[in-house]
């Protein structure tokens, strides 16, 4: 039972965060909370392939950005009334846009993964980066969808007749999706497939000697991770009511990696902690000094040089011995 305490604590903090924000008069906490949850979904999906599967993808923002744009593009066609390619009607229904974002991101991950996974090591890092950059340049040059100015989504997608103009409602929708996502991720990590993925990270040669065709499993994991990142991107488009190519810039991929490492690679809750730490640092440092990148850089450097296993590792050590 004790191992449930920590996740429950995290869930409860997010549940009561808006209340706390109102009490303290710090409503920025609510926005931060929503961003943390969305980034946590994306970082956790990266952690699935990177921490559990050992695939260091430097292009994860591509799928985040695709999810972002699916919501933006569907809204654009919904608002203009013209179907995409004369076929696909636009939509502002979250029950349609979110699955659509996951689907499109999943297809992109299938194609990119199928090609990239033929390489490994540094080459894999670079080829995933290359694909993400190609997508970035593609979207920057798409005139119909605003190019680098992005798409303004005037209204958050509708869901069950909820009042989505209310920011707290949107917050709880995001919390709901994030909770479902992490429950699902928990199942995936502990499934037959999850065990295989973990084995592949530890020793691919051994897995082959057990008769496992590692490529298929890695690709499957890559697609699952891509879909989750697409989900996160779609939520981000709903929260910001905006989609733009900066969501797929290579520095965004870098930030997701930072969150994973900061939180603790391969630990289930690590990405949540890492995303929380990163967003909090960025927000409060920027409010504190205009030279915040310097301070942020120093903190990250100290964390990576001084600790192993990120924040999760640190907490475990403080709580005594479990690693």
């Amino acid at each position: 039972m004790t191992r449930l305490i920590f996740p429950a604590l995290i869930f409860l903090s997010f549940l009561f965060l808006p209340v706390l924000a109102d009490l303290l008069g710090e409503s920025v906490l609510r926005t931060m909370g929503a961003r943390i949850m969305i980034y946590a979904i994306c970082a956790a999906s990266l952690n699935l392939i990177l921490g559990y599967g050992g695939m260091v993808s430097f292009g994860h923002a591509a799928f985040f950005g695709i999810g972002n744009y699916v919501v933006g593009i569907l809204y654009h066609h919904y608002a203009s009334g013209e179907p995409l390619w004369g076929l696909i009607p636009g939509s502002n229904q979250m029950l349609i846009t979110l699955p659509a974002a996951m689907l499109v991101a999943g297809i992109a991950a299938l194609i990119i993964g199928a090609l990239s996974l033929r390489t490994s090591g540094v080459q894999f890092i670079m080829i995933t980066l290359a694909f993400a950059q190609m997508l970035f340049f593609l979207f920057v040059s798409l005139k119909t969808y605003g190019g680098e100015d992005g798409i303004i989504v005037r209204r958050t997608n509708a869901l069950f007749g909820l009042n989505m103009r209310d920011k707290t409602t949107v917050y709880y929708v995001i919390l709901g999706v994030a909770t479902l996502y992490f429950l699902a991720l928990w199942r995936i990590v502990n499934s037959s497939f999850g065990a295989m993925l973990s084995g592949i990270r530890q020793n691919e040669r051994r897995m082959a000697a057990m008769g496992i065709s590692t490529y298929r499993y890695k690709l499957y994991g890559f697609v699952l991770a891509g879909m989750s990142a697409g989900l996160a991107g779609a939520l981000m488009a709903n929260m910001l009511r905006f989609a733009s190519p900066d969501t797929m810039h290579w520095t965004k991929s870098g930030e997701f990696m930072i969150m994973v490492i900061l939180g603790g690679v391969g630990s289930f809750l690590g990405p949540i902690l890492g995303s929380a730490a990163f967003v909090t640092l960025e927000t409060y440092l920027a409010g504190w000094t205009e030279h915040w990148p310097l301070v942020l850089g120093l903190i990250l450097l100290i964390v990576v040089l001084g600790t192993r296993g990120g924040i999760k590792g640190l907490i475990d050590r403080l709580l005594g011995g479990r690693s």
Partner: protein
């Protein structure tokens, strides 16, 4: 080398106030939230926006229009998501009713709709993308600088007026680049003998230089903001094209900081401007003198003038309303634009974007060995933008 300038003190003071978060001053000041970009290669623009606004406040003892104001500044880190979050913080936690400062269209796109939907006023000192000038216009959204397209249309008009019959146009392959060439064509109306798109962030333009030389146009128009533009101009000179084929530039390619970095490679090029440091009006002279006194030989950019104008506009409205409690009154006061702009004549069009004059400028070598823009003639009077027709307020 330019070292740290005194603004850091005011910056620190604002920071300290924000950290304390309390109403420390005797008279509750009107808070103005400034979201701007201080990070990275474009950070100098944010620096100018912030410092010019502060300058206007300092000239009046920390007041605008007789009302004490407090300027809250935060760096958006060139990220739309951060801009949006800072806006929420300003509006909900600091109860800010007037926001300003955003430089880039993509950050404005993520931030401004949220601000105006919340009943706060947003006054843009720079970015003014076409959608927000047209269909998505809003009564709480004002643009002080220009509409994005107008910049390049004015340059096209300049090329036409200078008698060129054909032109070669280049811009990076992204939305603003395409808009720039479209705007130029619209104003120019002549033959385009070559149209080239470069990569965003490209550093080497030698391939383009050879193509320009091969096409041998009467005039070259190019729009490469920031570092790309510096590289382009230097390579244009090194390729021996400067002085051979004339060039016209839009305002963002000729700001004083860029000219200083480009050096002699910019001399002889024509530009367009809605404000220049040598303007002969009282407001402009006061501004330039105050800047020189405070910042010495730090280049004075048109970005700074826009932010200064923004402060003057806010001052004119506050003078009338005395505060921000009545947003409707504030909006009505802003709409009048009853202030002496550093650029001379200024009024808002129906979409609350400027209607103003554009001028032709020459780039000449200044006394300090740094090129400067020199105003030549009036190009077009009372110029607005074509999107206002789409705006239904």
């Amino acid at each position: 080398m330019k070292r740290k300038t005194p603004w850091s003190l005011t910056g620190l003071a604002t920071g300290a106030l924000m950290a304390l978060g309390g109403p420390a001053l005797a008279e509750e000041p009107v808070k103005i939230g400034m979201i701007t970009t201080l990070s990275g290669a474009v950070g100098y623009i944010g620096e100018d926006i912030r410092d010019a606004f502060q300058l206007a406040m300092d000239q009046n003892g920390g007041k605008l229009g007789g009302v004490p104001v407090e300027l809250l500044v935060e760096d958006d880190g060139f990220k739309p998501g951060n801009g949006r979050q800072i806006a929420e913080k300003f509006m909900y936690d600091e109860d800010v009713k007037i926001l300003t400062g955003i430089i880039f269209s993509n950050i404005a796109g993520a931030t401004v709709p949220d601000v105006v939907d919340n009943g706060a006023i947003y006054i843009s000192p720079n970015a003014a993308p076409s959608n927000m000038a047209g269909k998505e216009c809003h009564e709480n959204y004002f643009a002080v600088a220009w509409q994005n397209d107008a910049l390049h249309e004015a340059t096209g008009i300049a090329a036409k007026k200078m008698g060129y019959k054909n032109a070669f146009a280049l811009a990076p392959n992204y939305q603003a680049g395409k808009d720039a060439i479209a705007g130029f064509k619209k104003g120019f109306g002549g033959e385009i003998v070559g149209e080239l798109y470069t990569q965003l962030g490209q550093t080497d333009y030698s391939a383009e230089m050879a193509q320009i030389r091969a096409a041998n146009p009467e005039v070259v128009f190019q729009f490469h903001p920031g570092g790309m533009g510096i590289a382009f101009l230097r390579q244009y000179q090194q390729a021996g094209l400067l002085g051979q084929i004339p060039m016209v530039l839009s305002e963002p390619a000729t700001d004083a900081v860029i000219l200083k970095a480009v050096g002699e490679s910019a001399v002889g090029i024509n530009g367009t401007a809605h404000w220049n440091w040598d303007f002969d009006n009282e407001a402009s002279k006061t501004f330039v003198a105050a800047w020189k006194e405070k910042y010495g030989d730090r280049p004075i950019t048109y970005y700074a003038s826009q932010s200064y104008d923004t402060a003057l506009l806010i001052a004119s409205a506050l003078k009338e309303t005395g505060g921000v409690d009545d947003i409707d009154a504030l909006r009505a006061a802003l709409r009048k634009a009853d202030f002496d702009s550093v650029r001379g004549p200024f009024e808002f069009g129906p979409n609350q974007h400027p209607v103003q004059n554009w001028y032709l400028v020459d780039i000449e070598m200044g006394e300090a060995g740094v090129p400067v823009t020199v105003t030549k003639e009036l190009l077009v009077e009372g110029f607005g933008d074509s999107y206002s027709a789409l705006c239904q307020m």
